[in-house]
Structure formats: C-alpha cells, structure tokens
Amino acid sequence: MIDFFTIEPVEIEPTDIIKRLDHLVRTTDESVKRMVDATIPHVGKYEKTLIESSLSIVGALNTIYKIVRHYLLTGERENNWILIMQLQFQMPMIMKLVNTYHEALDAFSTGKPIGDAAGPLTVHRLIENGQVVSRRVVDETSIIELYYKDRRVFVIKAEGPGSNVGHPGAVLNKLVEDLKGSVDLIITIDAALKLEGEETGSLAEGVGAAIGDPGPEKIAIERAASKYNIPLRALVVKMDLREAITVMRKEIFEACYKAFKYVDKIIEEETMPKATVIVAGIGNTMGVPG
C-alpha cells in the first residue's frame, strides 16, 4: 500500500487538465480509502482517516528511502564518486525532511491538530461566536450557515475532527451557484509557508484564493468569484513546513484568535449588514470538529 502512486495528467495538452487532475486526485483518495476499508473493516471512520494520512506519510518516507538508495547503489556500482558526493552534500536537507515527516507521524497517529489546521480552527472560532442556523456535509466538507453581526455567513471547512481536507473549492463553487451568485464577499483562510526570518504565527492579508491544493480546488474558487464578480480576500497564517505538518505550536494556536479578529474586521469593513459572506477555512481539520 505504501508503494501506491498517482501518474500526473498530460501537461502538453492543457484542454480539460483541471478536470483530469481532479478526477485523478479523487480516484487516488477513493482507492486509498477502499484499501484501508478492506484491510481494517471494523475500525471507526475517525480512526480510518488517521490511518489513511499516516499511510501517505509512510509512503513519502519510503519514496525518499528508495531514491537515496538508488543513487547510492548506482554511484557505488558505476564507481561514480561525484554522484555519491552530491548525495552526501544533500543528506542534511534530506534528513531534515525525513525527520519532519517522522515527527508528523506522532500527530497523525493520535489525532492532534497540526499547524495546517489554522484555517479550520479560525473558522471554528467564527462558528462558536455566531448564531448557527444549519449544518450539512457535502463531499466530506461541512457547510455551516450562521448569523454573525447581522450578516448571513456560510462557513466552509473540511468535515472534522478526523484527518480530512475535504473539497472546499468544489463545495464553495456549488454554494455560490446555489445562491445564484448573490454573495458579497468570499474570504479564504489558510496556513502558508513562511520565509526564513518571518515569525511563526504572523498574519498576512491579501487578495485571491488562499489554498495550496494541486489546482482543482483553487481554480473552482477563482472561477466562482470571477463569474459573479465577488471580492475574494485571503488571510494566511505563516509557519514553516515542520510546523505545518506537526502538532500545532502554541504560537499558531494563539494566531488563530488573531486571525478570527481579522476576519471579523474584514467582514465589518467590507460588507454592510444583511450581506452574505462565505468564509472558507482551508487545511487539514484533524482535531477540529464541525
């Protein structure tokens, strides 16, 4: 199961590439789920999501191991010391990545929230502070309708508290279509990789879809916003790769309170009372319910 792979779609023919990529991503997810289901049928849904994510991490570690072994054995067999030397120089970076993945296994095997859950946690605070009207789950993604400061707010996040990223882009697109485009503002909140020197948990605001998927979800948000001319705002919480996939640091947890206040400010400044707003918390929702 750890050798499972996905072949990327043909890029030199761009027609329908998003549709093909989306199909492959969904087929991969479904296949892994089916394999886990067949292996451990009596385990609960929540535990299964943790196992699926742990398997993908073990798969990544296995791939790194096989690539390093390949170059080492090739270098030895061909007596190519330059190749081995290059590998030796890259080993500190490779080991850093391997240690990060290894450390991430702790979070995924016990269901602790990871740094990437900053988006779902921020919108969770919004749900707690609003007056919830309805909840439904579409495509492993929760849509929570609530009233907040006299605005009709739709919160979109992956269904929790299992390890799940959902399909926020596709669901947001469908929601905008259901509302016939009568949406005044879309806000996306996600974790973003910081540059060296930037502070963990610092916030940055911008325009666009804050989502780091391979493409299908991001383009769905952009298409929905551009079709109906809806302002698309983005808020990101900065962290490095280690912090994004290991247990959420306290700094990031505290940054989610600040991010919530920031979302509140954007809603108040950008919309009038009675407006309709969509707020999407992007990221893995492990440990965060809703």
Partner: protein
C-alpha cells in the same frame, strides 16, 4: 632552501594541522540541544471561563466536553490542543 623544509611545505603542514584542530574542535564542541515539545490541551469552563492546561490524551479534540469545572461545576471543554517547549511549561512551585 635546498635542504630541510621549504616555506611552501611548512605553510601546508601548518594549514593541515590547523584544519585537523578545527575539525576535532567542531566534532567535540557541544551542539545546541534539539528543542523538545510536548502536547498540552487547554480546558475552559463554558460557564465561568475558568481555564486549566493539562496533558493531551489520545482521542481528545477541540470542543470535546471533558470534565466538570472545579469552581462552578459547569462543563470543561477542550478549547485548544497545542505543543509547547518542555522547558517552558509552568510547574506548580513551592509558595
């Protein structure tokens, strides 16, 4: 210099000795310890707002009602789960 060591060789020997000394020092110098993190969870009373930080237990998630408030008897709910540096955890000290 026809006999003995010429200046170039002397310079090379000194350079090699310095390099070996530097490598030995670098090997035996204590490197900074890797930071150790442990996972904590913040429990908050939904009634009176009393908060307490405890050790994380597998299976817990944010929003889970875990305990009763020692002050007012209200529900103690998991407000957050996060990792903190082991050395930074406040331990109950002597008065």
């Amino acid at each position: 210099m026809a006999d003995g060591i010429d200046a170039y060789s002397l310079f090379l020997i000194v350079a090699i000795i310095l390099l070996i000394a530097y490598l030995l020092m670098d090997t035996f110098t204590k490197k900074p310890k890797k930071k150790e993190y442990i996972t904590r969870e913040l429990l908050k009373c939904v009634k009176c707002g009393f908060t307490v930080e405890k050790e994380f237990e597998p299976g817990d998630f944010i929003g889970l009602v875990k305990d009763k408030c020692p002050k007012c008897g209200g529900d103690l709910r998991v407000e957050g789960i996060y990792s903190v540096e082991k050395e930074k955890i406040l331990k109950p000290g002597k008065p």
